[in-house]
């Protein structure tokens, strides 16, 4: 290095001095009391808010038509967590991932923040409520003057209760406008088939819990079908292994691909797409022939005649289901009493869907299940949805200029309808379109004025998912943005229309709801005055009834149905059936703008933030396709391009891709992400019900030559012979009778055993209950301020989830059997944790309650702990992750937000443990079993996760962890995990 000139200052020294001076300035500035935060008190304190303490508001979830009861945790005026309402008779205190993620709809940074209006240009301009309402009112007045009130159409999703009444009444008073209910999944064939079979035009309640044998034709009841949380919970009661009686119900899934629902089945029957009706008739025919039916001989004869010649050979050759499997199903279906057959999802996607459900109805009827496991008294309000055919005819009349004013509420047909129906073109022909949407989606972009609704978490309302449930929607906080409840908009607009000023007597929508509840108040609580009935209903989240099943008999119209030709109409000369299935993460696409759902790995593929297409390995091999290859899926109506996922759980003649992605707008998280398979589907319908036929064309698949990593969170599909997700069979358990428990390393240890003076927190996870639904994962994100990191970071394996669902495929080469096992993996809170001794700074250690503590402020980020963790459950903050405003409003103030360079992991929700302990201490008692639940266990729809004190011999978790099926994952490493997994249980074959 050349010497310095005399008198000069060396660069290095200069930097040193600047560094020290600057550092000192920063340090002292940081310490100076000028930078101290402010304390802003209330001017007038609200009665409900005590700073530092949560308040819970009961409400109803509106993320799908199921209408689960929820309770929303509010801290200092902000909703921060959603949990199931234990009083609800739908979800019994449980939620799904979508329900948990409703908060990210509330705080979505891409929400429409104020009313918008489109002036001459094509751009939306923010405006005030008065102006926006005036525009809508003037349009209505103009139409009324011309006597064109009947040219108004109000297009909504499934609304029921007061909002439905209000809209119907409003349309009526405006001169005969129409209210049309559009649901992407309206389940039209169920309604129509029930009308034909039993004369009841409705979707009944399926009581899976009561069934001992469940035969599901394609219905994804754990994912999206009708009421997934309810069904998952029912299913878990029906199908989980009972240690006392050493028995369990049996479940068979008939579906062309092994869906998440099929993964929980004892048997997966890979039927040829579109032939479910034939199989249902075939099974019925076997039951009738073998005399195992529960109906009169006359009826049996009549039905046998109706079914015709669907003999075993014919059925087997059409459906490609082996004969012995059909006979086995028929035997089980008739012998397990009561049994239940349900049809949905993949089973009613073709032109013969109504016949399929009618055939399933007959099967249930023959086995005597109507009234036992199917309740036609407690019908779903989803029955009110219009059919796809109705929607198509609405689009037709729109394009003919027969609709003058279209009001759009909570639906996005421009995204979810097939393009051949030309909804967007028709929409452009409607002179005035008003949208109440909270988000700028594909449909809303075409509106002339947008009057953004509050989200259900900010507004009053009610929703009646089925006859027995009157759910109340209660605001859990004041609106985040300048939005207004649509009910209030309707009322205030009408009050200014000439001649209608006094039509509605209600002051506002809240008043309207109360008035409509007054109508049935006397039915429920005649002894109470309305005020106390109302308060009680609000506290309980609604009113719940029991409705018994009425007597149901076969309708004559059934015998007019033609079962002779059940070939589905499939056009196109492609090689593959394309199954486009509703995603349990995005439903019909409405979940795609929520980063928690995007980052929740799909249970089967573990893919995040993108679409994929499932292709059978044989097919893939033939075409030279490997995972990550971009392929083109082409139908006569268009093509889409996405990445291949080679999946053994699908028929070789079928490919499948999830719905819900491929948005052209709908916010930063949804836009231009993945593909929307609806784009290549024709507007074909089920012949009888007019429901959309999702499977009406065959497609071709070609390799594009482009290849990229399909971003997933788990790339291995097998357990590599390690004992991670274990399973056993029913006879095996019955044979061993208590001597099955695998014990590892219980006596050899160099160190004295740890002492737990007070509690030892532990968990049991029942793999026979876990369905892989991911509710626990999203609940954990919500509770513990876990950042979402995006696709690029996920590709680098930097996803931050503290609990994940690992899935392993089990293949038996000899029998060609395929099944999937799910295992929730989280910190095992090891008694002998490998992470603890390697931490150089004691940031992680074993606490006296058995928790493997992680002290963020102590962590220096060496990551040794993560390296040494055999379960790979520790997560490192590679960045200080940000929540764009106002998503950060959701953050839980009881949990530290971690910054760059800090390791983090599951703590069994220590903040909830401490909260529970505090409550107990205040009451001067011990913590009660079940009082403390971590977010994952709280959310779990199947109650697979149980948390408690292992030192309390009476606690539920102590009992469960002593079950025969219990084992510790990788316990052979002597980690002494606090989590006991209970083996999955299958029925023996045959």
């Amino acid at each position: 290095m050349p010497d310095n000139k005399k008198g000069g200052i060396k660069r290095r020294d200069f930097l040193k001095i600047i560094g020290v001076v600057g550092g000192t300035a920063v340090t002292t500035a940081g310490c100076s009391s000028d930078s101290v935060d402010q304390l802003i008190p209330y001017v007038i304190p609200p009665d409900t808010i005590i700073p530092g303490l949560p308040v819970w508001y009961a409400s109803t979830c509106r993320e799908c038509p199921a209408g689960c009861g929820i309770i929303v945790k509010n801290r200092e005026g902000r909703a921060i967590k959603i949990e199931g309402n234990p009083k609800s008779t739908i979800n019994y205190g449980k939620t799904c991932a979508r329900g948990q993620a409703a908060l990210q709809g509330l705080y979505n940074p891409d929400r429409i923040r104020s009313p918008l209006t489109k002036q001459s240009s094509d751009k939306f301009e923010p405006t005030g409520w008065e102006q926006a309402e005036k525009e809508l009112r003037e349009k209505i007045e103009e139409l009324l003057k011309k006597g064109k009130g009947d040219k108004i159409v109000f297009l909504t999703n499934n609304v029921s209760g007061s909002l439905n009444d209000l809209i119907e009444e409003w349309m009526n008073v405006l001169g005969g406008g129409r209210h049309i209910v559009y649901e992407t999944f309206a389940h039209e064939p169920i309604k129509e088939a029930n009308r034909i079979t039993f004369g009841i035009d409705a979707i009944p309640s399926y009581e899976i819990e009561n069934a001992k044998y469940l035969l599901s034709f394609g219905s994804d009841f754990i994912e999206t079908w009708l009421s997934p949380v309810e069904f998952a919970n029912d299913f878990s009661h029906m199908h989980s292994y009972n240690d006392k009686s050493k028995s369990m119900g049996k479940f068979v899934q008939i579906e062309p691909r092994s869906s998440i629902t099929a993964s929980s089945a004892d048997e997966w029957v890979a039927i040829k797409p579109g032939t479910d009706a034939v199989l249902a008739l075939g099974i019925t025919a076997v039951i009738l022939k073998t005399g195992r039916y529960s109906i009169s001989h006359e009826e049996a004869n009549r039905l046998e005649k109706l079914i015709g010649d669907y003999n075993l050979d014919k059925v087997s050759s059409i459906t490609e289901v082996p004969k012995e499997v059909i006979v086995g199903m028929a035997k089980d279906f008739a012998e397990f009493k009561p049994s239940l057959a349900i049809g949905g999802g993949a089973a009613y996607t073709t032109s013969n869907s109504t016949q399929t459900i009618a055939a399933i109805n007959i099967l249930n009827y023959v086995a005597g299940n109507i009234g036992e496991t199917i309740n036609f008294g407690d019908i779903l309000t989803l029955s009110n949805a219009n059919s796809f055919k109705d929607i198509a005819s609405l689009v037709n009349s729109m394009s003919k200029g027969e609709v003058e004013l279209l009001l759009i509420y909570n639906v996005n047909p421009a995204y979810s309808l097939p393009p051949t129906i030309e909804f967007e073109e028709a929409l452009k022909k409607v002179p005035f379109v008003a949208s109440f949407s909270s988000f700028m989606d594909e449909t809303t972009g075409h509106a002339h004025v947008i009057l953004p609704d509050n989200t259900p978490l900010e507004s009053w309302g009610d929703y009646k998912p089925k006859e027995s449930v009157y759910g109340l929607i209660q605001p859990s906080m004041t609106p985040v943005f300048n939005t207004k409840s649509t009910g209030d908009v309707i009322l205030s607009v009408t009050k200014k229309i000439d001649g209608l000023e006094n039509h509605f007597t209600a002051k506002n929508y809240y008043d309207y709801i109360q008035k409509s509840w007054m109508k049935f108040h006397s039915n429920f609580a005649p002894q109470k005055d309305f005020g106390s009935f109302w308060i009680e209903s609000v506290e309980n989240g609604g009113v719940y009834e029991q409705i018994p099943s009425p007597q149901v008999s076969l309708s004559d119209s059934l015998f007019g149905i033609d079962f002779s030709n059940l070939d589905p109409k499939i056009e196109g000369d492609g090689d593959f059936y394309l199954i486009s299935y509703p995603s349990y993460r995005y439903y019909d696409g409405r979940g795609a703008n929520k980063p928690w759902l995007q980052e929740l790995p799909d249970a089967l593929t573990t893919a995040v933030w993108d679409s994929w297409v499932e292709i059978h390995p044989d097919t893939a091999k033939k075409m030279g396709i490997t995972e990550g290859d971009f392929v083109t899926i082409e139908s006569p109506y268009g093509k889409i391009e996405t990445q291949a996922y080679v999946y053994k759980g699908i028929r070789p003649d079928t490919i499948a891709t999830p719905l819900g992605l491929g948005h052209k707008s709908y916010g930063r998280y949804a836009k231009d992400r993945g593909v929307n398979p609806v784009e290549i589907l024709p507007a074909a319908v089920d012949d009888i019900s007019g429901g959309f036929a999702w499977l009406s064309t065959k497609v071709n698949v070609t390799k594009t030559g482009k290849k990229e990593l399909l971003v997933r969170t788990q790339y291995t599909t097998t357990q590599h012979d390690r004992k991670i997700a274990l399973a056993t069979t029913l006879t095996e358990l019955q044979r061993h009778n208590g001597k099955h428990h695998e014990k590892v390393h219980d006596d050899v240890d160099l160190y004295p055993p740890r002492k737990y003076p007070d509690h030892r927190w532990g968990m049991s996870i029942d793999l026979s209950k876990c369905t892989g639904c991911g509710a626990c994962v999203t609940a954990c994100y919500a509770e513990n301020n876990i950042p979402f990191v995006g696709k690029e970071q996920c590709a680098k394996r930097r996803d931050m989830s503290w609990i994940r669902i690992e899935r392993y495929y089990e293949e038996n080469d000899a029998s060609q059997e395929f099944n999937t096992r799910f295992i929730p993996m989280l910190c095992q809170q090891c008694g002998n944790a490998p992470c603890e001794p390697v931490c150089p700074v004691f940031a992680t250690y074993h606490n006296p309650q058995g928790l493997n503590a992680m002290i963020y402020n102590r962590c220096v980020g060496t990551r040794y702990c993560s390296n040494n963790c055999p379960y790979s459950v520790r997560r490192f903050n590679f960045y200080t992750y940000k929540w764009p405003q106002p998503l950060n409003w959701q953050l839980n103030p009881d949990v530290t937000v971690r910054t760059k360079g800090v390791m983090e992991k599951c703590t069994f929700c220590v903040q909830r443990i401490i909260y529970g302990e505090n409550q107990a201490k205040d009451d001067g008692r011990k913590v009660k079993d079940g009082e403390i639940t971590p977010a994952c266990a709280q959310a779990c729809p199947t109650e697979a996760i149980v948390f408690g004190d292992l030192k309390d011999p009476k606690s539920k978790v102590s009992h469960l962890s002593k079950e025969d099926r219990g084992y510790g994952v990788l316990a052979e490493l002597n980690t002494q995990p606090s989590i006991t997994y209970l083996k999955k249980v299958y029925w023996d074959k045959g």
Binding site: T24, T28, Q38, I40, Y42, D922
Partner: protein
């Protein structure tokens, strides 16, 4: 030049550091932060014997003690206008009525009073007032003799040593000691 620079910079830096610490401690320990209203805890809690919990009313039920709402201030000050006299406010002469009038102004404009925080804990500390109050620990243990302070200032720096010393000394038995020494009690 280099020698000269080293010779000068070291004392300058020392002075800067010492001065900043002086100001830092002087500001917080002696005077406390600058408040929007020259509120005297001494007059309220000392002279008039108002219990702490009258204003900090959540202290025994919530993790945070709560700062009185403007409404609460006005509960008394709609009646008590204060004397139009000079008051020796920690060595500074103030007019009591003028200060009380400031509260009324906030109330009339329905604005909250932006108090400056005197005691601040880092975000990674989950402190619970309720636990401490219910244990019978006096407010003054941590906050000092507020009843005799015109200007409330920090008496203890609330570093971990301060907490842990008390936790260790006050534990009743081994079991409680284990819990009170557990990092997870406050850090999660």
């Amino acid at each position: 030049m280099r020698k000269w620079l080293k010779f000068v910079s070291i004392p300058i830096l020392t002075i800067i550091i010492l001065l900043s610490f002086y100001f830092y401690t002087a500001e917080s320990r002696v005077k406390g932060p600058k408040q929007p209203i020259l509120f005297s805890h001494k007059i309220h809690a000392g002279d008039n014997q108002i219990p702490c919990q009258y204003c900090h009313s959540y202290v025994d039920i919530s993790p945070v003690s709560g700062i009185p709402s403007v409404q609460k201030c006005m509960g008394c000050h709609s009646q008590i206008a204060g004397k139009d006299v000079e008051y020796d406010y920690d060595g500074r002469s103030i007019n009591m009525q003028q200060e009380i009038n400031k509260v009324k102004e906030y109330w009339q404009s329905k604005e909250p009073i932006p108090w400056a925080k005197v005691n601040r804990l880092q975000d990674f500390i989950q402190f619970n007032h309720r636990r401490h109050i219910r244990r019978g620990i006096d407010c003054s243990t941590c906050h000092g003799d507020v009843a005799n302070m015109d200007v409330v200032h920090r008496v203890h720096t609330f570093s971990m040593g301060f907490c842990i010393t008390c936790h260790q000394e006050s534990a009743e038995d081994k079991q409680e000691l284990a819990q009170l020494r557990d990092c997870l009690t406050c850090h999660y």
